[in-house]
Symmetry: C2
Subunit: 172 residues, 2 copies
């Protein structure tokens, strides 16, 4: 049986034991609320992207709006909420593209990847801990310019590649 | 200053404090060795994929070979080691495609995404805790068949999409 050894706002740490050659070893993994990430498409060639300071990696990272699904909230509602809070755009249409594990070897988290279209400008309301700048950029400039040869945000790259890929049709 | 509050084989948990409206709140994030994931290309239409039991999510997941970079090891050496240990293929060529944060808001981890070509069959040597089956599949069957409408392994999807995308050339 797993036992929670640490509880935080973003994840919990669980400990359980595995048996290898008859010996018991502690084994740790994360649990927590699942998350959403949203690609906001202004028109077929332009997207909204955030430049956000990320304290863990100590730098600004270009990312699509994302966040955790709150208790009792549907993934689509979380996607709409995060999009509007962080960018000030309301989505006329929010479409689930796919769902992926962040790291199935040590985290139960599932991220829901959305495409937001028919956007209307409202008002951004970032949380007090969030340091976010919004840019509207050409889709073709995202990879290579906003997401460059350095380390990129994987979830945003995945969403961009998925949208641009003909493979997307297999999921729809 | 961050302080390590938990140490595990796969990640460490760090605690620091953030100030919001004059009040101090604890804030947790993960650190640890970075990781690699490898797309092993048998020929231009076929790849090696693993079906692996993942205890955190309690199911079998299709994934490319992946693992943690050991202390003192280069990312490319880790990619070669994980590929050979888990699949029994040795790479004639190992090419870095890009590097991405797993979750820059709460983890310092950078994953190095590799393409392995010129493969030679040797002998798989999985670790005792690993439950891995190897399949050679058509690249076109990966998404939609091995990675289906359910929850997929994001790093493997990203690598597949990146390889299939013409955008890949921007990084090379």
């Amino acid at each position: 049986m797993a036992r929670r050894v640490l509880r935080t706002k973003v994840f919990d740490v669980q400990r359980t034991f595995v048996r290898i050659n008859g010996k018991r070893y502690p084994w740790y993994y994360l649990t927590g609320n699942n998350a959403v990430v949203v690609m906001p498409l202004i028109d077929k060639d332009h997207v909204v992207i955030e430049k956000q300071y990320r304290r863990a990696v100590k730098r600004y990272v270009y990312e699509f709006p994302a966040g955790r699904i709150e208790r009792g909230e549907s993934p689509a509602a979380a996607a709409r909420r995060e999009l509007e809070e962080e960018t000030g755009y309301r989505a006329g249409r929010m479409r689930l593209l796919f769902r992926g594990y962040t790291a199935p070897s040590w985290h139960t988290e599932v991220v829901h990847y959305y495409l937001a279209t028919n956007l209307k400008k409202t008002k951004a309301m970032p949380e007090p801990t969030e340091d976010i700048e919004i840019e509207v950029v050409k889709l073709d400039d995202l990879i290579g310019k906003r997401m460059s040869r350095g380390v990129i945000d994987t979830k945003s790259l995945t969403l961009t590649l998925f949208y641009k890929s003909a493979l997307a049709r297999k999921f729809w």
